[in-house]
C-alpha cells in the first residue's frame, strides 16, 4: 500500500524477527493489561509514529476513523455493563457506574492504540517479511500466500488484455446497455478463470521440473541477522522482561470492578512505565534520528 513508508522507515529495515517481536509486544500488552498509564503510553507512541509515517494522511485517518471508533467504544461499556460500586446516575432504570465509565475510556484508548499499531504494521511491513519468518514453519501455505500475491496483479493485467481483445470483436464492457455490459464482464471473468487454471497447471509443471518438493533445496532470503539486530533484540527483550516482571509481581496492576483500583506509583512501577515507554518509542526514535542525521548530512 505505502511502499514509501516501508522504504523510509529505519525500523522496517531491521530483521523481521525484531519487527514481529516489537509488534507482538505493542499489541498484546495493552489488550492484556489495561493499566491506564501503559495504555496512554502505547496510544501516544502509536499515534505519533503513525502520523510521522503518513504525515497529513495519517492525521486524517487518526482523527476521522480511529477517534469515532474510540467514542463508540467508550460509550458502549457504561451503557451495557452495570457492574461497579459507584453509581453516578440512572438511565432508564439502569445504573451508570463510574467504574464502567472508566473501563469504557480505557477500552477506547486500548482499541485506538491497537488499531494504530496495526496501521503502522500495514504501513511498514511487507508480506515477504511474514513469508520469510513463517516460510519454514508452514512452507506450503507460505508458498500459496506468495503465489496468490503475485497472481493478483498478473490477473489484473490479463483481464485488461481480455477486455481489449473483446472490444476488438465488438463486446465492449465500457459502453452499451447495462445488461450487455454485465454479461460482457461475466465473459471476461469466465475467460480469466479458465486461463488462470490452465496457467496454474503450466506453472506447477514448471515447478516440478525444477525440483519443487525435493529435499535439500534452500530458500532465497534477503534478510541477515547482523550485530545491529542482535543489539536491538537484546535491548528490546531486556526492557520487555522488566515490564513483564513488574506486571507479574503486580507492582503495576489495575482492577476495574467492583472498585477501580490502580497501582504503579512506587519507584519500581515508575521504572516499569519508563521501560514500556522506551520499547514503544523505539521505531519512532529510530526514524526520527535517521531523518535528523540525513538532514544534517545535507547541510
Amino acid at each position: 500500500m505505502t511502499a514509501s513508508a516501508a522504504d523510509r522507515s529505519i525500523f522496517a529495515g531491521y530483521h523481521p524477527i525484531i519487527n514481529y517481536v516489537f509488534f507482538g509486544y505493542a499489541v498484546l500488552v495493552p489488550i492484556l493489561f489495561m493499566h491506564p498509564v501503559l495504555l496512554a503510553i502505547s496510544f501516544a507512541s502509536a499515534f505519533s509514529w503513525f502520523v510521522y509515517l503518513n504525515r497529513g494522511r495519517g492525521l486524517k485517518f487518526g482523527l476521522g476513523l480511529v477517534v469515532p471508533l474510540m467514542v463508540i467504544a467508550a460509550l458502549f461499556n457504561p451503557a451495557f455493563n452495570h457492574e461497579g460500586a459507584t453509581i453516578l446516575f440512572y438511565m432508564n432504570d439502569n445504573p451508570i457506574t463510574l467504574e464502567s465509565v472508566i473501563y469504557g475510556i480505557c477500552a477506547a484508548v486500548m482499541i485506538g492504540g491497537v488499531i494504530l499499531w496495526f496501521a503502522c504494521y500495514n504501513a511498514v511491513m511487507t508480506s515477504d517479511k511474514f513469508i520469510y519468518l513463517f516460510g519454514r514453519m508452514v512452507p506450503a501455505m507460505s508458498l500459496v500466500i506468495s503465489m496468490a500475491l503475485r497472481f493478483i496483479p498478473r490477473y489484473r493485467a490479463q483481464a485488461g488484455r481480455i477486455a481489449s481483445a473483446r472490444r476488438g470483436i465488438g463486446f465492449d464492457v465500457s459502453s452499451g446497455k447495462f445488461l450487455r455490459r454485465v454479461r460482457s464482464g461475466g465473459e471476461i471473468l469466465s475467460v480469466m478463470v479458465t486461463w488462470a487454471l490452465e496457467n496454474a497447471i503450466e506453472t506447477s509443471d514448471s515447478m516440478r521440473s525444477r525440483g519443487y518438493g525435493l529435499s535439500g533445496r534452500t530458500a532465497y532470503s534477503v534478510y541477515r541477522f547482523d550485530s545491529r539486530d542482535r543489539a536491538m533484540l537484546v535491548a528490546m527483550l531486556a526492557l520487555m522482561a522488566a515490564v513483564a516482571t513488574a506486571l507479574a509481581a503486580e507492582v503495576v496492576s489495575v482492577m476495574f470492578f467492583p472498585l477501580f483500583t490502580v497501582s504503579g506509583t512506587s519507584p519500581f512501577g515508575m521504572a516499569a512505565f519508563a521501560c514500556h515507554a522506551a520499547v514503544c518509542v523505539i521505531p519512532l526514535a529510530l526514524d526520527v534520528r535517521e531523518d535528523v542525521v540525513w538532514r544534517m548530512s545535507l547541510k
Binding site: L32, I72, F80, I115, F118, A140, F257
Partner: protein, 294 residues
C-alpha cells in the same frame, strides 16, 4: 470420483499421526487457555483467550495440510483460487458487505474438498488483509472463511463432482444465447422432455435444485457462522463483561450487515457456482489431480 485414488488425499486424514497429536494438544490447550484467563486475568481477558482458542483451532488444519506434502499442482490451483477470491473482494471494495468472498470459498470447498476449502478460505482472509489492512479481526476472518470452506467441502464435494461431470447436457444448461437457440431448434421436442433419450428437463431440474441447495447453504452459513463469529469477536473487544444482553445487542446491530453479506453470497453463488465448479472439475479431470477428494 475415482475410487482408486489414495485415501490420504481425502480431507482431514486422521490416520496421519502428527495431526492426531496436534489435535489432542489443541483439545488440551483450549481449557488451559480458559484456565489462564480465569486464574491470571480474573476471567476478563476475553479477546486474547478467544484469540488463543481460534488460533489453536486452526493449527490441526495447518499441520494436516503441510503434513500431506501437497503437490505443486494442488498448491498452484489453491493459490489461483485465493488470488481470485482476493481480487473479488478488492473489486467490490466500494460496496460494504457485498462481497463474493464467501461464495468463492464455498465453491472452492465444494470443488476441491474440505481440506483445500479450509486453506483457500483462511488464506483468502489473510492475503486480502495485506490489501485491506491487517488488524485484530484477521484471525477471526481466517477462521470463519476457513471453516466455511471446510464445511462446504464436507457437504458438497459429491455434488460438485456431479455438477462438473456434466450429467445434464451442456446445451440444456443455458450456454450462451445463440448456442441455446441453436440447440432448442435442433434437439428440443415439443414437450421439452426426452431429447435423444436424455431427460433434459429432469436433469436440468436436478441441477437447479443443487444450485438452490448451495445458495441456501451459503445464505445460512454466511449469516450464522461468519456473522455470529465476527460479532462475538467485536463483543469480546468492546465490552468488559460478556453477558447474554451484550451479545444479543451485538447480533441485533450486526444483523443488517450480515443480511447484506448473506444475500451477496447467494447472488454470487447464483452467478458463479455452476461455471466455476465446471471449470475446476474440468481442470481436475483433464490433468488428473485431486481426484480423491470428490
Amino acid at each position: 470420483m475415482t475410487s482408486g485414488a489414495p485415501r490420504t488425499r481425502r480431507g482431514f486424514d486422521l490416520r496421519f499421526p502428527k495431526t492426531v497429536l496436534v489435535a489432542v494438544v489443541v483439545i488440551l490447550c483450549i481449557p488451559a487457555a480458559i484456565a489462564v484467563n480465569v486464574l491470571a486475568f480474573d476471567g476478563r481477558a476475553y479477546y486474547v483467550t478467544a484469540l488463543a482458542i481460534i488460533t489453536l483451532s486452526m493449527l490441526p488444519f495447518a499441520v494436516a495440510f503441510e503434513g500431506r506434502k501437497p503437490q505443486a499442482r494442488e498448491l498452484v490451483v489453491i493459490a489461483v483460487l485465493v488470488a481470485i477470491t482476493v481480487a473479488g473482494r478488492a473489486a467490490f471494495f466500494m460496496v460494504p458487505q457485498f462481497k463474493p468472498v464467501v461464495a468463492l470459498v464455498i465453491i472452492s470447498g465444494a470443488a476441491l474438498g474440505p481440506m483445500s476449502g479450509f486453506v483457500v478460505g483462511s488464506l483468502s482472509g489473510f492475503v486480502s488483509n495485506f490489501i485491506f489492512g491487517q488488524g485484530p479481526w484477521t484471525p477471526w476472518q481466517m477462521f470463519a472463511f476457513g471453516m466455511i470452506g471446510f464445511i462446504a467441502g464436507l457437504v458438497f464435494s459429491r455434488m460438485a463432482a456431479a455438477i462438473g461431470s456434466g450429467d445434464a447436457p451442456v446445451h440444456a444448461r443455458g450456454g450462451n444465447a445463440s448456442e441455446k437457440a441453436d440447440t432448442d431448434s435442433v434437439f428440443a421436442q415439443p414437450d421439452g422432455t426426452a431429447v435423444w433419450g436424455w431427460d433434459v428437463k429432469g436433469r436440468l431440474r436436478t441441477e437447479r435444485i443443487r444450485i438452490a441447495l448451495l445458495c441456501v447453504f451459503g445464505f445460512v452459513i454466511t449469516f450464522v457462522l461468519y456473522g455470529i463469529l465476527l460479532d462475538t469477536a467485536a463483543a469480546t473487544i468492546f465490552s468488559s463483561s460478556i453477558s447474554f444482553d451484550t451479545l444479543l445487542l451485538m447480533y441485533i446491530s450486526g444483523a443488517p450487515f450480515n443480511l447484506v453479506h448473506a444475500i451477496s453470497t447467494v447472488v454470487f453463488l447464483l452467478l458463479l457456482a455452476r461455471t466455476m465448479i465446471e471449470k475446476l472439475e474440468r481442470v481436475k479431470k483433464k490433468y488428473g489431480f485431486m481426484q480423491g477428494v470428490s
